[in-house]
Symmetry: D2
Subunit: 352 residues, 4 copies
Amino acid sequence: MIKVGIIGSTGYAGEELVRILTGHRQAEVVWYGSRSYIDKKYYQVYQNMFQIVEDVCRDDDLAELADQVDVIFTATPQGFLAGLLTEEILSKVKIVDLSADFRIKDVAVYEKWYGIEHKSPQFLPEAVYGLCEINRDKITSSTRLVANPGCYTTCSILTAYPLVKEGLIDLSTLIIDAKSGTSGAGRGAKVPNLFCEVNENIKAYGVASHRHTPEIEEQLGYAGGGQVALSFTPHLVPMNRGILVTEYASLRRKEDGSLPSYEEIKAVYDKYYGKEKFVRVLEKGACPETRWVEGSNYVDVNFVIDERTGRIIMMGALDNLVKGAAGQAVQNMNLLFGLEESEGLDLVPCFP
Amino acid sequence: MIKVGIIGSTGYAGEELVRILTGHRQAEVVWYGSRSYIDKKYYQVYQNMFQIVEDVCRDDDLAELADQVDVIFTATPQGFLAGLLTEEILSKVKIVDLSADFRIKDVAVYEKWYGIEHKSPQFLPEAVYGLCEINRDKITSSTRLVANPGCYTTCSILTAYPLVKEGLIDLSTLIIDAKSGTSGAGRGAKVPNLFCEVNENIKAYGVASHRHTPEIEEQLGYAGGGQVALSFTPHLVPMNRGILVTEYASLRRKEDGSLPSYEEIKAVYDKYYGKEKFVRVLEKGACPETRWVEGSNYVDVNFVIDERTGRIIMMGALDNLVKGAAGQAVQNMNLLFGLEESEGLDLVPCFP
Amino acid sequence: MIKVGIIGSTGYAGEELVRILTGHRQAEVVWYGSRSYIDKKYYQVYQNMFQIVEDVCRDDDLAELADQVDVIFTATPQGFLAGLLTEEILSKVKIVDLSADFRIKDVAVYEKWYGIEHKSPQFLPEAVYGLCEINRDKITSSTRLVANPGCYTTCSILTAYPLVKEGLIDLSTLIIDAKSGTSGAGRGAKVPNLFCEVNENIKAYGVASHRHTPEIEEQLGYAGGGQVALSFTPHLVPMNRGILVTEYASLRRKEDGSLPSYEEIKAVYDKYYGKEKFVRVLEKGACPETRWVEGSNYVDVNFVIDERTGRIIMMGALDNLVKGAAGQAVQNMNLLFGLEESEGLDLVPCFP
Amino acid sequence: MIKVGIIGSTGYAGEELVRILTGHRQAEVVWYGSRSYIDKKYYQVYQNMFQIVEDVCRDDDLAELADQVDVIFTATPQGFLAGLLTEEILSKVKIVDLSADFRIKDVAVYEKWYGIEHKSPQFLPEAVYGLCEINRDKITSSTRLVANPGCYTTCSILTAYPLVKEGLIDLSTLIIDAKSGTSGAGRGAKVPNLFCEVNENIKAYGVASHRHTPEIEEQLGYAGGGQVALSFTPHLVPMNRGILVTEYASLRRKEDGSLPSYEEIKAVYDKYYGKEKFVRVLEKGACPETRWVEGSNYVDVNFVIDERTGRIIMMGALDNLVKGAAGQAVQNMNLLFGLEESEGLDLVPCFP
């Protein structure tokens, strides 16, 4: 049985980790870290866990945890892990970091977009970007540190990846218009996240400045073989869970000047995702919707070719707390320990 | 492997049955009945099931089904099953009926509240009212027909049952104010259930006339040893899932004129539910909330004694599609076939 | 032109006052008090007011305000006004207090339910409880201090008032089950009011202990001519605005043992509300719903007689920020200054 | 007093017309047309209008109406007005058509996108496209037929118009990602618009094929002086009202290769909208949000320049039932009859 510690277990992503791991047959949570609720019963913070989790919350003590568990999930604010990580810790325990600290290889880019100093850049080279469907081969038993991708990022990248990888779109035209449920904003008590402020409203935020932008650009840059600068606009939607991305790009025309056909594009998606359990390429005409993936680890993707403009509109949907956070983190853990990749993740989307 | 047929598989309760049975290790759905969508892929009706359920929808043919499956779930409108049921069918197959057809023993009461003739009252005597925590002993391998309780009913009864059974409240004072999410209204295309009609609104409906009233009265009458006439008022709440009941009753005073203490009432709840997996008696001061049971088979109950008025306020919460419909139906199936009662029902509530 | 000052203008009730007074032809806001946002443009706090309100927020300075305006609205926490009020202030200005400080005549009751000391009980005798439809005669140009009723209270009282006044119900059986939108919880940044905590949920709170209870009891006691102890249970509903109350009471039987008829009860409601602009007694069979009063100063009421139990179920709906707060406050202002009572309040409910 | 007839008065846009006209000092509704509810009291269809509107619904009889009123609003499905309009009718009455029948000048384009034959193309030349801020000069007392713009269209055009008109963006790069509340889908009883289907979900629909596309293209083509082909993707958001558009386009660089500055772009917006009452160009950094315009006739617009990609992100928000339908229709009526353009439209946005 793999012993798991969670730092930040009382945030929404932390709680989703607890929910998922409760159904995992080869791992058990033994440390519920939560600086805000030390010594409080976990179920008193999340009453859904009454009679399911009996443990109390404990301090976010990384060093102590390293001695007691096999893997640590850090569902913490930016800078937390980078500020505490040491070689000694990494020599004892594997870490799946749900924050952004080790996602971006270039420290300067990280510091520019996040506005904080990176305290342990020496671990950046070994950190593996844990987008399982793309980096599966790099996440092995010898990996010590996984940078779990962001929610917007996972959805944005997977939706466009096959076309970028195959060079079918003009990357300089890529625009990502993203919409997210409110759990992505976390459980902090802030006026803009109050019910009455979010309900009956939609807004863009972080326009041309959202921190997930460089992460998407870096990964799509690897896929496309070059630097990418794209537009990414997140929006806040009055719902609990779910991310939908709508992506626009000009298709590269074939030598005869024609656009690729539906079948040709579909074949490319199938090439990359045909055997992927958690990426579902929908049938022609079906648009991804967040309700169809809620509570599950699926990403639904599809596309429409617009002959009039020469563009392709790509769409992707996932549950930001599952495939966009805790589910993917467990998927990474499974890879790290050589388990069945889908263990604990056979979650059927729950509708309505 | 138990073979399962569902009639009415494309309603919300039917779809929840499919979701739950997907995770059941000893049962499999082999017939997705849906008169409205015959020959359509099930996942084209519920896209969450894409790459999970490959079957097509089939007609609601009860007789044909009886030959092919071990158990039939009927998630159908009132009158459907009563109109088709025969001894021959029941000799071949077990039926768990999610409609009201066999819940009320007195045909006259059924016909008065439902306004339709009961076409097969001869099966009423053998039908077992499938409120598992109360009637567990009667649901055995020899049972052929289970009347699965209504959603409001399950919540209303379980919340008050221990106090009624022990004679602690004055039954003539019992008032049940119930609130339900909108999935309880079904998937029929009706103006009152449109998003813009339900959202940003709360209303009572069926005041003093809702059909779940006699069902609650009959069962609490059995528990209390007498006839019961109570007030039951349902309300429609702008949320997908969940039922909350707030019940009011005057406590019987003890011989010295005092009210029972918190501890005395708590002990009574624990007596009946202390060993029940799916009924959680919350800690003192914690109010049941629908979000804490969403997606699970739990019923959360608790109470407050109001010394000023001599009343007890009892509260209960459940997910109307799980413990209020499909989950309890599977729980009944498990009992019918001698399986672990919680098989397939280890569903951790999903929040947020 | 009446000069108006608002203390607490950046809470939800304060902002609704601003909205309503913007359309008032004989009053203008000249002081937007908001301790939290001093010197900030009001429209930067509420962007809906961009190009409508150009003023900046100012301190909550009661004494200074008394010199500058004709009437002060205090939309402030409990204890604020009681802690600052002086004879000098009241000699200069009229005050409509939206807090509970002067609603309850008995200081001991106030201090028990609110848990704070009342700092200026000397003004309690002169304060008029501003439930206009009932106390209209007492709100005149010589009135200096109006205690504007609470939101739950207004709805609860008006729904039952005619029957209580006429002695048609047994007051000892009165139970009020109330449901409120989330704006009633204010704009404070608290975890329980975050979108993800409120959305997809319903819960009771303050069971047998909510502070509006004694206020309802006092006023219904005046109407019924005796002391009242009732059950009041508020619930939080995932919507922005609106309060619905469902009230239960045993009808007093007539000498022949029969219950009053629908027509008899209807006549009593019409006697009190037939000429009231803001109380609408609905047609037979129509249930009050919060959506039908949203944005307006209406209270919709209706009732159902339950012959089976001998009870009457009374229902009422209002917009908690309008008739439950700011609208009624303006209605009181109109009475204080001898204006048309509905000036500024011809607000047509906005649906959907 | 202008006599108004509404055909389709019981749809959401029709009801909003009734709400707005109730507060209009120079117009009164004398005919509430509604084929579905003939002879029913209007308030029985929309209970918010109880004691406000006493009229009954009448048939949708265009010819009869022409004799009785001064102006007809047709809030009807596509094809209705085109199928009935005659010279005789137009000789008697002015018509503001809220459908798409007379918005598109090119019949072939209309028939291609709407899939129906246009029955009265002879009136297309005289129909004025009623986007008041742009076509104000053409909407005069001699105008007989106004084609009231669509909701998405109004928002999409006004957000980009100044930059298109001034040639500041490369029109071939224009992408409009739009998000709408559900009232835009109308009051028809359809499964996809049920509460449980819309709530907790976001989806794109009509991708590369939505009917508002050619309308936007035609109008922006007039502004930009050429043909336009753009990408328009609508999304359905779980809220009642509101449209938000996020528009992307490459800025034309100046001769020195630099991008226009914030101040330069702002000046262009101010040039067109500085004196417009209903278009609010927000302060730097403020993003339009639908909640800030709800219930009002405002359109809020703003923009962000993205130096990294050379694009400008333009944003606009309006209430789809007001500026996107009924409000703009009344604004057009005011222009047709030489009234103050904002009469009846001094609606302060209602938040929360």
